[in-house]
Symmetry: C2
Subunit: 164 residues, 2 copies
């Protein structure tokens, strides 16, 4: 399955940067459903850097797979800065990698609300040194495919920025 | 990110069949690296059926995430019927879903050997009732993208067959 050009380019850059620095990565994905991991592993030789990933689609999976606290899901909802950060930190801990990237958002067309519209996506990257968070509000008229595509791009960009 | 037409069609059929029967699914992916989960979650409303998935790219991830026995990896290697079955059964147990699908193979261009050439992929689907295994030997001259594409297709077909 061929990755779109922009995603393939970013995935190659991220894997090259990780390998150059001897770093390993894991993913924790909700709305992108495995596509960030799919992009990273599209790169030949990515096994030097990619440990694996968690597709934490259901809230129960966020709790069971990467230890997102139930209380955070209750208080802030699955699509929140707090849960994105907990997913990234939990994935890094569960996988034992240097870095983990997390994505949680509303890809639509259903599931949006006034406060959390379709297109709202929270990203987080955890590393030993720091944790980054990014919030994006993509155009709610975009298709599910478009929002997931843009989310994979932003996730890879955030990883790239984090590893410098 | 748009799924290729054949994958999108199969993913829609699988999700519809799962929902019609009230079944839940989890994935355990090595060479496809999250793309089977990415395909399933490309379907709007898939959260009714998809719990989540494990991208068990490294051998260590196969052990830690879905409980593949170290002895099986040692004896048969990561790309084997035995490990595919253990991945599917382990994912079903770890996720607590009705069904789990597993993929492990050699997408190339590196990593092939005389006994396990590029293009060799083992698939397994576990359910409460039965476990299915499928071995495919895709054309070793195919690109990594082509082998991963064909692997996603076969994984979805095997799930579809398993749920009838």
């Amino acid at each position: 399955m061929q990755m779109p050009d922009d995603i393939a380019k970013l995935a190659n850059e991220v894997i090259a940067a990780l390998k150059a620095q001897g770093l390993t990565i894991a993913t924790a994905e909700s709305c992108t459903g495995g596509l960030v991991a799919g992009a990273l592993t599209s790169v030949s030789g990515s096994s030097d850097a990619v440990y694996g990933g968690f597709v934490t689609y259901a809230n129960e999976a966020k709790i069971a797979m990467v230890g997102v606290p139930f209380a955070l899901l209750r208080q802030f909802g699955a699509v929140s800065k707090e849960v994105a950060l907990a997913m990234a930190e939990g994935a890094m801990a569960a996988a034992g990698t240097h870095i983990a990237v997390a994505v949680t958002g509303i890809a639509g067309p259903d599931g949006g609300s006034e406060t959390k519209p379709v297109g709202l996506v929270h990203f987080a990257v955890a590393s030993g040194e720091e944790t980054r968070h990014l919030k994006k509000s993509f155009d709610p008229t975009w298709s599910r495919d478009q929002i997931r595509h843009a989310s994979v791009v932003e996730a890879l960009k955030l990883v790239k920025k984090s590893i410098g």
